[in-house]
Amino acid sequence: MAGQEQQQPQSRDDEFEDDAPATPPASGDAQASAATQGVDDLLDEIDGVLESNAEEFVRAFVQKGGQ
């Protein structure tokens, strides 16, 4: 199908074989844990800006019909 030339390597193993990375193969896990850390930081920030009392806030958001 279309766009096959843009296909990315699907499996992590292929990627490492092709690219012969300077970093050890465990970097997959390292990347994953860095990504997890990024998400954790983001969630911590968002915890601080979320409206308090989620249930009440969401329930009270009632709109009249529009287009």
């Binding site: 279309a2 990315q8 969630l43 920030e45 800006v49 979320l50 989620a54 329930r59 709109q63 009249k64």
Partner: protein, 539 residues
């Protein structure tokens, strides 16, 4: 590329005043912004809307709906006087007179802005309708300018101790069975048969949501089924083709108000899109749709027909794995991605054949757009983390999945509903999209300076330039304006002078910039414009 524009109805909520009248609150949003523009422009920048050429009951299939057959919400060609009076009855005259009235004694429900946009109360929501632009990047810019307008009004109201704070949300549903729209408009030649538009666009509209859906927590109009889906709007569509926009919503809307020379143009009114905060999603929404319209005009739209379009639309929205297949009438089964690739291939071929897609000698827009379209489809297929920085429903989903994993939340947990709602808060400190943008997690098409300029400056290359400049330069003499007119009331003239602007690609900076530069006075400006005094000789 093509004349286009956006319309955004904002969700409106005053957390400290539950049950407050939504129309009244929306009018206060308009009022708050009017107060700001009054400070900006000498003589007052707000201009009334001119309803003369509104024709919401004209159907593109060739007939006009009788007024008494129409739903009241379809009568958008009348000033919303009843709404204001209903509000007055509910709240008392005195409150209206305190802060709801402008100088002439009626509630201000409608403004034309110096950037050429319209800001008004639509039903029970504040709506920003962008000025006409000619490229998807400009569509993103002047749509995002509307979010800044909304934010300015929110800030203004927050600073007024007399008013309850009001929040605005760029979303499309309250998740309790109500939806409100985000529309697109595209100028097309009248000669293109409407049936071709319906056939060419329907499969595209069923599937473009995988690139430009904004994401929604909850399945079904009332969100009664727990889960997550791609589109804010999909569950609210019930018909394939129709005139309505507030009930029995159709995939293809037939409203035929060209707001331009009617025998030459049609304005295609698209009601199926989600309101987008993601710039890339918005860019792809306008750009790919404009290209598909070019395919239809050339008679080269892919010949595909989807079985049961409304059910297919919802099936695509409910399938975040993007693996569900749709049945075509010729018997094939394809995924939403397959269908988008079919449209992409056709659009890329047309762009190559006509030359508009050339990287150097093309139209300056199509090449970049095709690249972004292909890259987004490729990432959706095989590199979802990369797609999450531009595809809005994936970006929102990544945040929701973070919460689900960290806190073990089920889809019906109110905190996930709050993340969905607060994603769309227009305030940068509260809006979760804006938090992601600030962290560099969302890709950009335009920078903040460009958007800030578009709050006050009209696009240079459409009639919006003329409209916007009239409003900002001659605000005290402009008594009304609409998409296709500007009305002047110049002292010393017995009657109003209405300047028609029925050609969307005239009234540009190139054609009228000199006129605005030469005249400070509306009387002499009009005299030259209308040919009563000669223009200066060329330098």
């Amino acid at each position: 590329m093509r004349v286009m524009g956006s319309e955004t109805e904002y969700g409106i909520h005053a957390p400290s005043a539950p049950g407050a009248n939504a129309t009244m609150m929306s009018a206060r949003v308009i009022q708050a912004y009017a107060q700001l523009t009054r400070q900006r422009a000498a003589g007052g920048a707000e201009t009334r809307w001119d309803y003369t050429d509104e024709e919401p009951l004209h159907d593109a299939r060739g007939w006009t709906l009788e007024r008494n057959q129409a739903d009241p919400s379809q009568l958008t060609d009348q000033p919303p006087v009843l709404d204001a009076e209903a509000v007055a009855l509910a709240y008392g005259r005195e409150e209206l007179e305190q802060d709801g009235e402008d100088e002439t004694g009626s509630l201000l429900m409608n403004m034309v802005l110096g950037n050429g946009a319209r800001l008004y109360v639509d039903h029970a929501h504040p709506e920003y309708s962008s000025p006409e632009v000619t490229s998807p990047a400009d569509a993103v810019t002047w749509d995002a300018a509307g979010d800044v307008v909304a934010l300015s009004a929110v800030r203004r109201m927050a600073a007024d101790p007399q008013l309850p704070p009001v929040n605005l949300y760029k979303n499309n549903t309250d998740n309790k069975s109500v939806s409100y729209g985000s529309h697109e408009n595209y100028l097309m030649p009248r000669v293109v048969p409407f049936g071709d538009i319906v056939r060419g666009l329907t499969p595209f509209f069923i599937t473009r949501q995988i690139m430009c859906g904004a994401g929604r927590v909850g399945i079904g109009q009332d969100s009664s089924r727990p889960g997550y889906q791609i589109s804010q709007r999909a569950d609210f569509f019930e018909a394939e083709v129709g005139l309505e926009t507030t009930i029995r919503r159709p995939i293809i809307n037939t409203r035929d108000e060209p707001h331009a020379t009617a025998d030459k143009y049609r304005r295609l009114h698209v009601i199926i899109g989600d309101a987008n905060l993601s710039q890339v999603a918005n860019y792809l929404k306008f750009g790919t749709t404009a290209m598909v319209l070019s395919l239809i005009e050339a008679g080269l739209a892919p010949r595909v027909e989807v079985h049961e379009p409304v059910a297919a639309l919802q099936a695509v929205s409910h399938d975040t794995s993007l693996t569900a297949t749709l049945r075509l009438l010729d018997g094939r089964r394809v995924t939403a991605l397959d269908l988008q690739w079919i449209y992409y291939e056709a659009a890329a071929k047309l762009a190559q054949d006509t030359g508009v897609g050339d990287a150097v000698d093309g139209d300056g827009h199509t090449h970049a757009l095709l690249e972004r379209w292909a890259a987004t489809l490729t990432d959706l297929d095989s590199n979802r983390p990369a797609a999450a920085s531009s595809v809005e429903w994936l970006a929102k989903l990544s945040l929701l999945d973070g919460y689900r994993q960290r806190d073990g939340l089920e889809w019906n947990d109110a905190r996930l509903g709050l993340v969905d709602l607060q994603w769309a808060d227009v305030r940068p400190e509260k809006g979760l999209y804006h938090r992601m943008l600030a962290r560099g997690r969302m890709d950009r098409i335009v920078d903040d300076e460009t958007i800030a300029r578009a709050v006050t400056e009209p696009p240079s290359d459409t009639r919006a330039f003329f409209r916007g400049r009239c409003v900002s330069s001659f605000s005290k003499d402009v008594v009304g304006a609409s998409w296709d007119s500007v009305i002047f009331d110049v002292p010393g003239h017995g009657r109003l002078q209405r300047v028609p602007t029925r050609e969307p690609l005239r009234g540009t900076e190139a054609l009228t910039g000199g006129l605005f530069a030469r005249h400070r006075d509306a009387g002499s400006f009009l005299a030259e414009l209308l040919g009563q005094t000669p223009p200066p000789p060329p330098a």
